[in-house]
Symmetry: C2
Subunit: 246 residues, 2 copies
């Protein structure tokens, strides 16, 4: 296997967390949507994931992809997520298959299941809450962005079944640097620290699996996303807990 790892959406916060944590552990090829302000520490391209030529070039000689690129806005309009997130993920998978890439780690999102959060679960964000999602449930996206992430997971299922690509979908929680969100119970319950984010993606590059959906959060006292599957299959060992910052 070629060891180069392609990181799409390298300029975003998840990409930043990954490169800060495991930047020295892989031979990266970064894909930026916009030219980076500071010179990156790794080889890079600038381009769009919906462009087939760009993605063919980006995937050449690559062993694995971490696919983060897309419109990251929670209130992104439909036309944008249809094009950038759904179509962009399809183009990325197709380029991966055409180039013989064995593995794709997909940045899914808590918004894929945002509509499980209803008024009927008042304790959801608190330690006394018991409701938990583990990734086997049918999705309930809370916005078009979430719909697009579910579609990305479904495309991964197809490309895994059809072409044998290893696929790990990480439903990323609330990623913030240094400390959890303040005065925001929901964000604390789904907090993902930068170092846990980097470690989780390291696990997703290394572990042995076929097709997975896991939740990407730290080991917070209160969580309504289970991290058991990530622990069992990926060997995820989170070190942070939002409760320690109260």
């Amino acid at each position: 296997m070629d060891d180069t790892v392609l990181l799409t959406g390298a300029g975003g916060s998840v990409g930043t967390a990954i490169l800060e944590g495991i930047g020295d552990a892989y031979d990266w090829r970064l894909l930026f949507h916009n030219p980076p302000v500071d010179e990156p520490d790794h080889p890079y391209l600038v381009g769009d994931v919906i462009d087939e030529e760009t993605m063919a070039e980006a995937c050449e000689g690559v062993g694995a992809i971490i696919h983060l690129a897309g419109d990251p806005r929670r209130d992104a309009p439909w036309d944008s997520v249809l094009e950038n997130n759904i179509h962009g993920t399809k183009v990325t998978y197709q380029a991966a298959v055409d180039a013989g890439v064995d593995r794709l780690v997909f940045a899914s999102s808590n918004h894929a299941v945002g509509h499980f959060e209803t008024d009927r679960r008042p304790k959801l964000y608190r330690v006394e809450g018991e409701f938990t999602l583990d990734g086997t449930e049918l999705p309930r996206p809370g916005n078009f962005y979430g719909v697009s992430k579910v579609a990305g997971e479904t495309l991964g299922r197809y490309y895994h079944d059809e072409y044998g690509v290893d696929v790990c979908n990480i439903r990323i929680g609330n990623l913030t640097r240094n400390h959890p969100p303040v005065d925001y119970e929901r964000g604390q319950a789904m907090w993902l620290s930068y170092r846990d984010c980097a470690h989780l993606h390291d696990c997703a590059l290394q572990a042995d699996y076929d097709y997975e959906i896991v939740y990407g959060i730290s080991d917070n006292d209160r969580k309504y996303y289970s991290i058991e599957r990530a622990k069992e299959v990926l060997g995820y060992e989170p070190r942070d807990n939002s409760a320690e910052f109260e």
Copy 2:
């Protein structure tokens, strides 16, 4: 509630089966993609479901929608299903919500779960097979058409949760007139007769539910899709069985 039922994709085989069986039971408004060859028995429009103006006009004064329109080809290319099936279903849901339509019945497909059919299940299509899908499993589409149908189901989940639209996704099996497919075990196992198809859609217009995923097949001796949910929630009482034609 306004009693008019909008039927999109009225010119296809599912639309034909519905109109043959329950054409007299509702005040229909038909939407054809191409001008019909024979003058329809009901008021109709010609237009495209991806056109917002067409859909706004089509949804006016409508109580429920049966949404069949889309590229029906099992080997449809990605760009077509992205536009016609995924985007078209979003436009239809949005027009429905904007017009105050209470209910949408969505023509999903067996292809949403086509990749459960693997070499590891050799008895799948036979009476001695025991593997069964019931609609609670995570989808495994077998082609881009199937991916688009899963995306349509997900859009329905979003529009139900966000706007309270009643949504019934019917994963239609192998619809053929008069008798099941010959020399095609798979098609026999998922056969849906014309009259069972019409009756099932009648049930989906009448029953009390929130968000459902059901399999749309006749009561075949061998089936790897459960019809229990359709019976329980919708009151589906199929009359046909592919085994009676052997």
